[in-house]
Amino acid sequence: MIGLVVAGGASVAVGSVASAEPSSAPYAQQLTAEDGELLFRANCASCHGLQAQGTENGPSLIGVGAASVDFQVMTGRMPMAFQGPQAEKRDPQFTQEQTDAMSAYIAALAPGPGVPDDEWLDASQVDDEGIARGGALFRINCAMCHNVAGAGGALTEGKWAPALRDIEPVHVYEAMLTGPQNMPVFNDANISPEEKREIIAYLAYLDENPSVGGFDLGSLGPVSEGLFIWIFGLGGIVAVSVWLTSRPN
């Protein structure tokens, strides 16, 4: 059975997740850290080392914790689509069960931040004032890279902070907790679990309440507004004035 799952995991890694997923579901509850280790060896060890000790191609994963594995694998950033300035988000290559098994394996190597409890991910427990506090925290801690509207932004050397629309609450939480890629770590002493939940609630508010003033032009601020008024505003009105002054031939 383990052989079947590993084979499934390996085939997932080469891109046939659809066929592997249903067959592994009945066994899902039974995956253990040992299964995670096998999955790890088959899919991750080439860069992270057979004992997750790291190689010149990838960092050590000892002590990164289950939260980090869950974030990286379940957002599709790992395994990396290709070597580049930073790992890109894509469809996850493993099921949640497989990822949990790998998380268990990594967490067993050394203590690290764990996957958050559902209690801290539930935006419905946050009232309006909490959303407002979340917004203020977001502007102070996150907007610098992710933009006030969560539209994302540029970092140095071809890296970037991704847009934060429609992100799973658990991934928002784990990103703050583990600081993936170029992101700093916001540990519980820095931003408490309650405050993290308020930030999640604020982002959920932005997702659920789209732009009140009409089309938002990508929430990119004055650049898209300027392009719009030059191309469509002035362009359209100049086209009208050309028409007004044209003469029939």
Binding site: A143, N147, V148, A154, E157, G214, P222, W230, I237, S241
Partner: protein, 530 residues
């Protein structure tokens, strides 16, 4: 004959009543017969005027509800994610306008979109005037007046951008504060004076408000008045054409045709603006949150018209030096100096060109850009220089959207700013001269008709079709200048200024294509007739 024809109509009676008290008929008779030439590019000024009307109307509405104060309040309006936060009364009232006052959001968006269109149309209008040489005598003063209007519009835009006291406007003010403080010795004092203490203080919003709604609009209206009166006095330029000379104006009189056209164009511009304002959001200030000096958002940009200044700062390498214990911020001083020089040169360009060419005659014909290759090349290089600085203000968005390294984007733009400007100058000049040569060819030998004919001797030729008179006029009618010779002045001396001027006119006019002379045309015609 019936009795009704003898009785004066109501309109006649009303007009008579008015005229007896105001003597308006003289004004109406003169102005009503005033003629305006017809060309799409001559309507750019109207777009400016009509968007300004939209700004005035929507701006008046906003002043009813906006509270220009930095007093701290706790927000209690209907936008949930800001509830209970401390903010300035200015920001709270801007939120109320957006969420709690009927029509407020539409008016705010109309005001902001109109402002963007206003300045964009000013830019295009200035380019039209520049590239057609419409700033030449007697219109040099009006160019300067227009240029001051442009500067005033930028000032209006920037003060307006700073009023809502959201995070974006505060970041803009922080940059201004940094630039002011970069001025050696007096910078810090000026900053204290401007902000009434340590930045950001709590004086700047009311101060900018007074400028934004009183002083600057009054100046804009006064200068628009001067601009229009001078335009009426100098008359409008027109493009050369049959019957259109340097001594007349051919077009539609104000009453009734032009007034009807202009009036309907007003509704088109206003309607387009309201349509944009009601469908596209601009400055979603609730997303930015109240101003607080610590956060800065990624993708913080000024409105498009200040972009060139922001871009200049972004393109400048971070040079600083310390002289006798004073830090000299070249990274701020050099961009300020370059922008200042750029603006002053553009403002006085009519006088520079006049001095170089020595041309003191009146010009009422708008030149085709190709017929003055050097000016066109200078203009194109200026546009390029401006556009690169402008693009640099969005270097971060260029990097993320095209998956580039933001440093490489900056290096590429730096190279394009310096090398590109020279290349654009040279290319434009060559293209303009090439187009002139093509015009000359077409005038003398007609255009290629695509009809191939075999001569009795066996030779194949393509028949060239001569232009009709109407088309030919456009190509014939232009002036060509020759470089000014170095000649001694009245005292028999050749001054350095004379040499400089001679060198500059050579730069302007050494490479040129002379207009077709009547004799050349005659010869070409006889040749074709064979």
């Amino acid at each position: 004959m019936t009795a009704t024809t003898a009785r004066p109509s109501l309109t006649a009676k009303a007009s008579n009543y008015l005229d007896e008290r105001t003597s308006m008929s003289t004004l109406v008779a003169t102005l009503g017969r005033k003629v305006f030439p017809d060309h799409w590019s001559f309507m750019l000024g109207e777009i400016i005027l009509y968007s300004f009307v939209a700004i005035l109307l929507s701006g008046t509405f906003l002043t009813f509800f906006f509270e220009p104060s930095m007093t701290e309040v706790f927000y209690d309006g209907s936008y949930a994610p800001l509830k209970g936060l401390a903010m300035s009364a200015a920001y709270a009232s801007a939120l109320d306008i957006s969420f709690d006052i009927r029509g407020g959001l539409l008016m705010r968006q109309l005001h902001h979109w109109s402002a963007l269109l206003f300045i964009a149309a000013i830019g295009l209008h200035m380019l039209r005037v520049f590239f057609t040489g419409a700033f030449r005598k007697p219109r040099e003063i009006n160019w300067v007046v227009g240029f001051i209007l442009f500067i005033l519009a930028l000032a209006e835009g920037f003060t307006g951008y700073s009023l809502p006291d959201d995070l974006l406007s505060g970041n803009g003010l922080a940059i201004i504060n940094g630039m002011v403080k970069g001025i050696p010795i007096v910078g810090t004092w000026i900053s204290y004076l401007l902000f009434g203490g340590v930045f950001p203080g709590d004086d700047i919003v009311p101060r900018l408000f007074v400028l934004h709604i009183m002083l600057l609009p009054a100046l804009v209206i006064a200068f628009i008045g001067i601009h229009l009166v001078l335009m009426v006095i100098n008359k409008h330029t027109q493009f050369a054409g049959p019957g259109k000379t340097n001594d007349n104006v051919v077009g539609a009189p104000i009453m009734p045709l032009f007034a009807a056209k202009a009036g309907s164009f007003f509704f088109i511009v206003f309607g387009a603006l309201v349509a944009i304002a009601s469908t596209f959001t601009i400055l979603p200030l609730w997303e930015y949150g109240p101003y607080d000096p610590s956060p800065v958002s990624a993708g913080t940009q000024p409105d498009w018209y200040i972009g060139f200044a922001d871009g200049a700062l972004r393109l400048m390498p971070g040079w600083e030096s310390e002289i006798l214990g004073w830090t000299v911020s070249w990274n701020i001083l050099i961009p300020i100096a370059v922008l200042g020089l750029f603006i002053v040169l553009a403002m006085v360009y009519p006088f520079i060109e006049q001095w170089i060419t020595g041309d003191k005659r009146e010009h009422h014909i708008a030149e085709r850009p190709r017929n003055n290759p050097t000016r066109t090349a200078i203009g194109a290089a200026g546009v390029w220089f401006y556009a690169i600085m402008w693009a640099a203000a969005s270097s971060d968005l260029i990097a993320t959207h095209f998956r580039l390294n933001v440093f490489h984007v900056t290096y590429a733009l730096q190279a394009m700013l310096i090398v590109g400007t020279v290349i654009v100058y040279w290319l434009t000049k060559r293209i303009a001269i090439g187009l002139q040569k093509k015009d000359r060819e077409i005038l003398l030998h007609g255009y290629e008709s695509g009809r191939i004919v075999r001569r009795p001797g066996g030779e194949f030729v393509e028949v060239h079709q001569p232009l009709d008179e109407y088309e030919a006029w456009k190509l014939k009618a232009y002036e060509s200048y020759a470089p000014v010779m170095v000649r001694p002045n009245a005292k028999g001396k050749i001054t350095p200024a004379t040499h400089l001027r001679a060198a500059l006119t050579r730069w302007f006019f050494e490479d040129r294509v002379s207009p077709v002379t009547p004799r050349e045309l005659e010869v070409a015609k006889q040749h074709d007739d064979h």
